[in-house]
């Protein structure tokens, strides 16, 4: 398998295939910086603003990774995502809302796989999807989880990576477009060493 593209969003910057795309010069908080990214890429998806931090982060990273019209087989595009926090940040916000009138929208976002639901709805990806909660990021684990899907199903492409929000100042999304076929000039082999090299934390 090959990594044909990868994106990293952190509080400092956005990089695509390790090249700097947007720098957070103002050191803005999560919502301001992610809105800046959204507008820079003219994403035109109003639902973005209804999402919680976890889904906004993963959705943005996927949108930058794939562009507006990726040429992928929808039924054979899988998603494998992991994090350590699950949706703890959103859980706290929802919990606060219970003391008033609980927010139904916020409750829905207290499940970590909802970010994959948002990506699936936008791009109509109908393949396998799994979200794992791990103590910390490990390149070997991402490799193992993803290659298992390729080895045991007809999956052709997989959006694989890490989407983790600890706070509005501490968050990280690294998403890889992993495919059976190498189809970009910058592609690299999908293996733990390359994942380790490209994962920025």
């Amino acid at each position: 398998m090959y990594i044909n593209q990868y994106v990293c969003i952190s509080p400092d910057k956005v990089t695509i295939n390790n090249e700097s795309s947007i720098i957070n010069e103002e050191k803005s908080d999560f919502r301001v910086f992610t809105k800046q990214i959204y507008r820079s890429y003219a994403l035109q998806y109003p639902k973005f603003f209804k999402m919680d931090e976890h889904s906004r982060l993963g959705f943005l990273a996927a949108s930058l990774l794939l562009g507006p019209e990726p040429e992928l087989e929808n039924e054979n595009t899988a998603m494998v995502m992991m994090n350590a926090e699950s949706t703890l940040f959103t859980d706290s916000q929802y919990k606060e809302s219970i003391s008033g009138i609980p927010s139904p929208a916020l409750f829905v976002y207290t499940l970590p796989n909802i970010v994959m639901g948002e990506i699936a709805i936008k791009y109509k990806f109908k393949g396998e999807n799994i979200f794992l909660v791990e103590p910390a990021f490990e390149a070997q684990k991402l490799y193992d989880h993803t290659s298992l899907i390729f080895d045991t199903t007809p999956t052709q492409s997989c959006i694989a990576g890490w989407v983790n929000v600890e706070s509005t100042k501490n968050y990280l999304a690294v998403l890889y477009l992993v495919e059976r076929i190498a189809n970009s000039q910058k592609c690299i082999t999908f293996d733990p060493t390359n994942i380790e090299k490209t994962f920025q934390s």
Binding site: S86, P104, F107, L111, A120, K126, G127, N129, L148
Partner: protein, 394 residues
């Protein structure tokens, strides 16, 4: 490589172990009723499949001696996993070749929601909050040191954990695994489902024309699965095989399935394909059947797309246990295996009239002395995460 199912463990509102659960299932005795243990202002407004044991009761039964106070999800998980392990006759001689995959959504929330405003009363809630804490503690309790994974994909978590464990075994990472799901009731989820307005304040009626919504439940259901080779080496006995699994994303809406039931259709289709079976091979389906307007209609549509006019006998046992969320896949997989093992199908309680668009009639009586060869179980989660498993007679 065949994946053998060798042990079962379960705790639910129906009973504290497999034997007690079986009795309630056969006696058509629902576990759904008044909320007594969970301290909620809503306890007189809603019913749930609550396990009538406090956390202290569960801790004592398990003889847990740890400086940390274990959350309810963890206690239920250890309880059921322990039974499955014993049931499999398994003694871990090489922990590194035994793995664990747990599906859960609630994690330590029952403690966190109580203590986050008064942390001095129980500071350990921070350490016990994560979904992964349950996985680690079950592993510790049973001496497992192989691959550990925690899956959180809403209501399909438990089934996905089972399928994932099977993949790890087939791929040679491990020889056997304890797999399933666990979730406890919490104010967090009770309030959440209330605000989504999909709860029924009376006993739920899955697949019924006048269904009003779901009842929440809690529980844990675990299986021990092994490679055939490793089972033969230890001269163990299998109950059945896990012959197929499938997962797909419905890609329509976060909390409702597409009108055509695409996600449910695709995952059932994949499970059949993987098991190398045709639809009429399936003798019984334990459906997701939450009792919500959307799920039962769209699941029914998907069933008809797969099975045509010959939809096999089916029932939703959520009418017995309530919807146990992340545990549902584990709990219902255990019930599906019991169905195959004992050749008895359990009914869909509270059913009166068919959904007009479907005309589908679930089982309403216990059926014994069946001759089932293959049974299917479905779990569909928010975020469009849809899964299906098939178990087959040896």
């Amino acid at each position: 490589m065949r994946i053998m199912v060798t042990g079962l463990g379960m705790v639910s509102a129906l009973g504290n172990d497999i034997a007690e659960n079986l009795i309630s299932l056969k006696d058509k005795k629902t576990g759904i009723g008044a909320i007594e243990i969970l301290k909620t202002v809503h306890k007189d407004s809603w019913v749930a499949g609550e396990i009538k044991q406090t956390n202290a009761d569960l801790t004592d039964t398990l003889e847990i001696d740890d400086s940390l106070t274990y959350p309810r999800t963890t206690l239920l998980g250890i309880h059921a996993a322990r039974e499955a392990f014993k049931n499999a006759g398994l003694e871990v001689t090489d922990g590194s070749r035994t793995g664990i995959v747990v599906g859960t959504t609630v994690g330590g929330m029952d403690l966190s929601e109580t203590f986050y405003r008064k942390p001095k009363e129980n500071p350990s809630f921070i350490a016990t909050h994560s979904c992964g804490f349950t996985t680690e503690k079950i592993a510790d309790y049973l001496g497992i040191t192989g691959t550990m994974s925690t899956i959180s994909t809403a209501c399909s978590s438990g089934l996905n954990a089972i399928a994932y464990g099977a993949r790890l075994i087939r791929h040679g990472y491990i020889d056997r695994a304890i797999v399933g799901g666990t979730d406890a009731l919490s104010l967090f989820t009770l309030n959440g489902f209330k605000t989504l307005m999909i709860l029924d304040d009376q006993l739920c009626a899955p697949f019924d024309k006048n269904r009003k919504g779901l009842n929440l439940g809690e529980g844990a259901g675990f299986l021990v699965i092994e490679s055939e080779k490793s089972l033969n080496e230890r001269k163990g006995e299998a109950i059945c095989t896990l012959s197929g699994w499938g997962n797909a994303n419905d890609a329509f809406h976060q909390t409702a399935s597409s009108p055509e039931g695409n996600g449910p259709y695709m995952c059932m289709h994949k499970a059949l394909e993987q098991a190398a079976l045709i639809p009429k091979d399936i003798g019984y389906i334990n459906v997701h059947g939450t009792g919500t307007e959307n799920n039962d209609l769209t699941e029914g549509i998907a069933l008809k797309r797969i099975f045509g006019e010959d939809v096999p006998p089916f029932s939703s046992t959520k009418s017995y246990t309530g919807h146990t969320l992340g545990a549902a896949g584990g709990v219902e997989a255990v019930i599906a295996v019991l169905t195959l093992q004992h050749q008895v199908c359990f009914p869909n309680l509270n059913f009166a009239r068919a959904i007009e668009e479907l005309g589908l009639l679930p089982l309403t009586e216990v059926q014994e002395n069946t001759t089932l060869k293959h049974v299917m179980t479905n779990s569909f989660g928010f975020g469009g995460n849809d899964s299906s498993l098939i178990f087959s007679k040896l």
